[in-house]
Symmetry: C2
DNA sequence: GAGTGTATATTTACATCGTAAATGAGTCAC
DNA sequence: GTGACTCATTTACGATGTAAATATACACTC
């Protein structure tokens, strides 16, 4: 009745909501669900019904729920890659050695933006990376690591220096995003700022500094805060760890 | 039979494993369970049986499972406070304005140490902070914030500067710990390093830098990496954001 | 056509989960 | 004893992840 033709089809009418299922559609739908209703809303049955399919069907495209979560992480990194591709100058690194810092900024900022688009997924970036060893991570994640490492080597860092800088980069971006996403407002509908922040719940004697700073703390650090800290870290490690002389040459000069 | 006395007691013998239950014992037991078997092993029934009590009993000491998780976070911060108390010079800040940086180092390092002691809880530090607004966080958490903020003000930061530095401090420590805890080894029992790291799983063409750096990356950044990055951030914000003149005076001079 | 193989989806079943509600049992003051 | 209060248990319900068996669909050859 409701379907468009074919008398002999399954009773249910059109199979699924939009043709055949595949991993990409599943992950997209999962991400959408998590974005709008949170991680706890993501169950196999629920996601299945979202896709017009039984829960067990999903096991063809993800071996377990944990694998599905890994898929979510992958989806986020794929979105990161898309965004990076859009914004990149199409010609392939004209001054090969010089734009590394700008590129790192761009990666950090894009990561920041993508993470704020999918705040509910961010905890997974910590959790799943703890659970799945580097070599087993989704390819999109590994490509991201590769990109950052390559830029650092381009900047003149040797292996040890690049490792230190890589850790700093990753830690800073992840930590910054996590802190940015912390809940600061107690009651969003309350007009009075103090009540909105829930100041009345904090013992005033014991927490004077925190109380007076809460309002400022509730604002976002924003993209500027992210790059400022990133530069602080990069500047410290450039020249401090062993690395080549590239970065001494490449600030005013032309090409490589 | 097995119990030590009192004929008329409950059939089960001694009530619970060690006398009356309370919130502290519950949280301690939960932390122990999570440390040894991971977050997924923590269920109300399992924790109850660990304490010799029915699952529902736990709801007297935590309103919900989420509240129990918040309790875990609290427990970690309480442990942090204990460790900070042990290591502190007993006299109350003799040179009030000068030791702020050392104190921040000490807090960062102690946090680092405590987090590595309870790696499975670390994801909660991100997750629960997203879920519960600042004003509703456990007191031990708020006291930690207060401590850091007070030190920053002591260092001469004004409110805006302290906020920036606070975010940087928190983000760096959390991010650093998270990255430190990422799984790097694929197969710990494998004698050959390359196989142990799982290098054979990574497409060699596409990920040359990552492949050559994996071994170094698998090592820990350690405490030095933590303080190095922290100093980089602090140095950048001191003098860059508006703050008093304290920090200009307090590096070589004597007391306040 | 009938038959076979492979990819896809469903059905059924089970142990486990968080927790609402009602009930029991212990201790204390009167 | 009698009530009040604290602490623990019992029972029950819906939801979850997933193993196993089964069903359906489409692409082939014969």
């Amino acid at each position: 009745m409701a379907s468009h033709s074919e008398a002999g089809m399954a009773l249910r009418g059109d199979r699924g909501r939009h043709g055949r299922l595949n991993r990409g559609r599943m992950l997209a739908s999962a991400l959408e669900l998590v974005d709008s209703e949170g991680l706890s809303a993501l169950s196999m049955r629920r996601l299945g019904s979202e896709l017009g399919v039984e829960a067990m069907t999903l096991y063809r495209y993800a071996a377990s729920k944990d694998a599905l979560l890994d898929g979510l992480v992958e989806a986020v990194y794929l979105e990161l890659e898309e965004n990076l591709a859009e914004g990149s100058d199409s010609e392939k690194s004209p001054a090969a050695g010089r734009e590394w810092r700008g590129e790192l900024h761009r990666i950090a900022l894009t990561t920041y933006r993508v993470c704020l688009t999918h705040p509910q997924v961010v905890p997974l970036l910590a959790t799943r990376m703890m659970a799945v060893p580097l070599a087993r991570r989704p390819l999109a994640v590994l490509r991201d690591h590769e990109r950052v490492l390559a830029l650092l080597r381009q900047a003149g860092f040797d292996e040890a220096g690049a490792t230190t800088a890589f850790r700093a980069f990753t830690a800073w971006v992840l930590g910054y995003v996590s802190v940015e996403l912390r809940a600061m407002v107690d009651n969003p509908d309350e007009p009075d700022p103090a009540f909105r922040l829930g100041l009345h719940r904090m013992p005033s004697q014991e927490l004077p500094r925190l109380r007076e700073t809460t309002a400022t703390l509730a604002e976002r650090g924003g993209a500027e805060g992210l790059t400022a800290g990133l530069d602080a870290l990069l500047d410290r490690f450039v020249g401090t760890e062993g690395q080549g002389i590239h970065q001494l040459l490449d600030s005013p000069g032309e090409d490589a």
